[in-house]
């Protein structure tokens, strides 16, 4: 695990510690994390490039809570320095491979948490994590009936009875 320091004020790491980033969660928790851990995030990388252009460093405000952010940092730390095909913008799409073993364990969380992680990963532009979460959610509903899918994912059936029972909808989708 990387050194992740929670600080109580909004002190931005100084010039001497330029490899540290300050991330601020929506519940106003300040988390310092090494820059290269978060380099998997295209969003963070773009922010850092912006800092370099202006020679100024700022805290990066993120619209999700610290417990979601910490989970994302845990993922990025685990794959620190690893090449993941999904995160390579030049690589072809990874196709239909299964969820990696470590990811399976990592994503063994309740559904709400899973959805929050995928939303955060999407915001941070971490394609590999988005893909793993998407596969994990797909696994939850694969092989289930339509009604079970609604139940598992909290989706409301907003079809009218006529729409639901129309033969064309049943036959052709």
């Amino acid at each position: 695990m990387p050194t992740i320091v929670s600080v109580d004020d909004s002190t931005v790491p100084g010039e001497g510690s330029s490899r540290l980033l300050l991330l601020v969660s929506s519940d106003n928790k300040h988390i310092v994390v090494e820059e290269d851990i978060m380099s998997r995030s295209r969003f963070i990388s773009k922010q850092v490039e912006g800092f370099e252009a202006t020679s100024q460093r700022h805290a990066i405000l993120l619209p999700f809570s610290s417990f979601v952010l910490n989970k994302v940092i845990e993922y990025c730390s685990h794959y620190r320095g690893y090449y993941l095909l999904e995160d390579d913008p030049d690589a072809a799409p990874p196709g239909r491979s299964p969820v990696r073993e470590w990811d399976q364990e990592f994503l063994d969380v309740d559904r709400n948490m899973l959805l929050r992680i995928i939303k955060a990963a999407h915001y941070l532009e971490i394609k590999s994590l988005v893909g793993s979460c998407a596969r994990a959610i797909a696994d939850m509903i694969r092989g289930k009936t339509t009604e079970e899918m609604r139940e598992i994912l909290g989706v409301e059936n907003d079809f009218t009875p006529e729409e639901e029972h129309s033969p064309s909808s049943k036959c052709t989708g």
């Binding site: 929506s26 809570s65 309740d110 893909g131």
Partner: protein, 578 residues
Amino acid sequence: MSTIPTPPPFPPNPLATQTYDQWENDTIKGYLSVQPDPTVPDSPAQIAQNRQLARRYKARMDLIVNNFAVLLQNRHDLKLADTLSEAKWKRYVLLARLFPINDLPTEILSNILRYVVWSTKDASESTLRRLQVTWVCHHWREMAIADQTLWNTIWFRDLPPYERSFNFFHRAGTAALDIRFNEDKRFLATGDAQYKLTGERMEKILDVIMTKVDQIRMLILVIDSWPPVLALFDRLRNSPRVPKWLERVEIHRTGRPYIWPGPDLPSPEFIAGTSLCAGNAPALHFLCLNGVHVNWNTSPMVNLTTLDLRRMPMSVGMTLQRFRDVLRASPKLKKLSLDGAGPFRPKDWNFSMVLPPIDLPDLTTALFGDFSMTYAIYAISNIHAPNVRDLSLVNMTGEDYGLFCKFMVGRFPNVVVLTMYTLQVEDTPQNTRYMVQWLMSMPLVQYLRVAALGQHMFYPFMMDGRYHLRDDFPLMLTPAQKAEIDAKYPREKIFPRLATLEFQHVDTDMIVNFGIGRRTVVGCPLKKIYINAVWMLHITATDRMKLFSISPVFICRSGNATPEEEKLYEIYSFGVAG
């Protein structure tokens, strides 16, 4: 959730452009969008309670809307309208806390739906999944229909006029298309001609399909007779547009292989075969023709990764020269399958006319079947493929294939999965030597699949290979000769890595003896035995007990790789999709 905030009061002057409902929705969304995520996850009990509460509010809303619609018009009954608003508001807050999946950005949700649809075991399940995701709610339906990549695998197995398939076809938009045609199940079950995919029906389908010929990536046709095939060939040949994305063509004509197609068909043209895509399919790399032939000289057969030819009369096979040209032009060939089909063999061909083999270093999967012994040698002698990992020999019967075993010695030294279905080798000391030498030349075999083998075919697997290392060793050794060889050469185990056996159409006692021999004589016990599901019906309870005494026993389905096989595929990265 301890408290649910109450809704804000109705503004005295709602925006003139908004109805009350619009204002209410915007207000709820605005409120929810600025709410932070919870700082600790809800407990399962809390989640269940929130769900129940959300359902209760929904029931209350439905009750009011369904029974008092008139009173709600223009908020006529303010108290009732406020009750409805409160239920709606609280329910939305709860749902936000429960995080319904539809709150995710469309891009992510599309991603999830793709995984649901794509990760299916067969095309039939894939069709069902695609339909199912459109039945969940309006949002999913709209999103799924807008995603072209969800619809681009089209299996024409519905009834004419193929409403569902054509719907998929249109929804696929500009995406690459994977198209498969099949005979109707009812035709296959009853033979009733009204369900048959005729040439005329095929023409009607092609009228639509060919409008996107340049988007077709995969074309699979599994039919009974020639007319639909000829219709397809004809359209592909005469298409003004090049099928530039076409990567894979698979045509299986399941009817009798050598039957004359009928008096209506122009016979000289039929025998010459059609030029596939008029010779122009630049991306084509996977070609499987089963029971049909093409004009080999003018069809696009370069840079193939899979060449799979089955059930063709010799008279319509390609020339040896063309066959060798195709192999030379396909240096990355990964799979070669010749099953009752292959290059034409001149009547005067003999073993002295064998040509230098063509190097196929990437060939990892090879199947040869339904050949006479001479033809098998004739065909296989054209390739040099030392990296074959998965070798299958099927239906080599009707004569003695002992010499063929001798021919195979050292040809495929890296085989890991070996399949022998109906290989006839007469029980002679010389043949046993050939068998032992051949098996010894494949020391990496870990998975053996057998069917319809004679009892004597199992003995070589138990033998000590050192007594057959050289052809000049006597076939029947005296104790002194044996001792001399023992002193000179170390013991040579046959298939020292063999761990898994899969079988069908073999007497259980033979398998049991094989298992005992591998454990006691060779010292390499089997770790697992698979029985083909169909053959399992022939296995008695006593047989099962006997087999269990050898190793754990499992049932497998024909055509499906077992976990051990899949693992080997993964390790050695061989096998070609499909």
